[in-house]
Point group: C2
Chain length 256, copies 2
């Protein structure tokens, strides 16, 4: 097994480029680094296009990425491409799951969709994907202006859930066309909505969460069949976007 | 009004030191910078010990910090002390609210406490403080090992709620002594707990949330009167700590 010791090796140069998200994105791939992130992806059934390890982690490649010849780098060269201060010596290139696929439906019709219009914070997006996976939602739908679901911070915050639940990118128009066609309730989370109460909710249902600072656009709000808000008995006037999405997701999941 | 133009001015040196959290903390004060953070604190009734503005924001000081003579810095000098790339030219030094005060109680006995044992992520702590304020909880109690509630990232994530709801630092022993004395239910959020259902919850109640990676310590779990978990119908095995805290806070707030 050859250990690459030169930073000028063409494979090293190519991988180094893919560690930049905009480069990887333009090639339809994702660069993952670190033991936890890589193992989550592999254990979830993702097939790596490439496995990159430092010379002291060859055993890891043999254990977790059987049948794929790893690119083995010297510790120094791995450190060069690494995005972290203390590299763990393992990285993967995987194909980006298609964001352009259809919106899935469950056989029993008990679908719950969370639709994100212009969510900007990677931590919020990741936390919402994790929550959606935990509560058994059908899919997370993101608007074209929502932050990249395969951003490193998003992937970390999902704790592996990004590989378990479909994340679909659709325009708001495509969403409303689909939901209208399938007879699916559309709820806007809005501070002017009715307080969420018993009987307010039914499945199938799609609920819309807006941008952290500005909430939903007026256009999207106007197209939803209902406006709802979470009852708040205290002083703060609003909740973090991921918290709001989670409370509704939790309430809806009681109906599954 | 004098404009300080030297970086060697003793007041500038003193403020520059307080922009470091460990220095401010050791003096029992908080350094706040930026229009939103400063206005939230002032509008919530915090009295600044000092108001610092750049020469182009003197009007702001006159509007928001009446009766306090601001320290006016040239734009260059303000940029020197600023913790941001594009300074907004306003900062405050305020006294740190006491973390060592007693645990408060409501007159109607409908108390809800969220107790954080070793929460490490500032975003999670801030989001929990904001949620607690929104849902009308009595107080947020933090263990000595939980991250500093007056860390800049925590304050930002609370969106002002850190000034509205008591945040109290107590050891777990002090908490259990208080809750036992007052006859308050103690719930451990634990993956081995009973699924939260109707009738499971009653007020007054304190619920305990553990560290992001490790959950609650065995010692704390053993001292709680009940173990509960949030029903999860999907695949992810756990939720983000702030999401879990919020779902329970929301369910308990229905009983207020």
């Amino acid at each position: 097994m050859q250990i690459i010791t030169s930073r000028d090796n063409p494979n090293v140069k190519r991988i180094a480029k893919l560690t930049k998200r905009y480069s990887a994105r333009s090639e339809g791939v994702i660069y993952l680094e670190g033991t936890r992130l890589c193992e989550e992806a592999l254990l979830s059934g993702q097939t790596p296009l490439e496995v990159i390890v430092s010379e002291d982690r060859i055993n890891w490649a043999e254990e977790f990425a059987q049948g794929i010849e790893p690119l083995v780098l010297s510790k120094d060269v791995f450190k060069k491409i690494s995005q972290t201060v203390n590299p763990q010596g393992v990285a993967l290139i995987i194909k980006e799951p298609s964001l352009s696929s259809d919106i899935p439906q469950k056989a029993d019709g008990k679908d719950i969709y969370v639709v994100l219009e212009n969510t900007q914070d990677p931590g919020n997006l990741g936390t919402i994907i994790r929550m959606a996976d935990a509560f058994g939602l059908t899919a997370v739908i993101v608007s074209p202006t929502t932050c990249d679901p395969y951003n490193d911070k998003v992937i970390r915050a999902t704790m592996g859930s990004v590989w378990h639940i479909p994340v679909v990118r659709k325009t708001m128009d495509e969403c409303f066309a689909f939901f209208a066609d399938k007879g699916i309730d559309t709820l806007a989370m809005h501070l002017k909505g009715n307080e969420l109460g018993a009987g307010e909710l039914q499945l199938p249902c799609a609920y819309f969460i807006g941008n952290e600072g500005d909430g939903l656009t007026d256009e999207t709000t106007a197209k939803c069949t209902k406006l709802v808000k979470i009852p708040m008995k205290g002083k703060a006037e609003s909740l973090n976007a991921a918290v709001a999405a989670s409370v509704i997701g939790y309430e809806l999941s009681k109906l599954i």
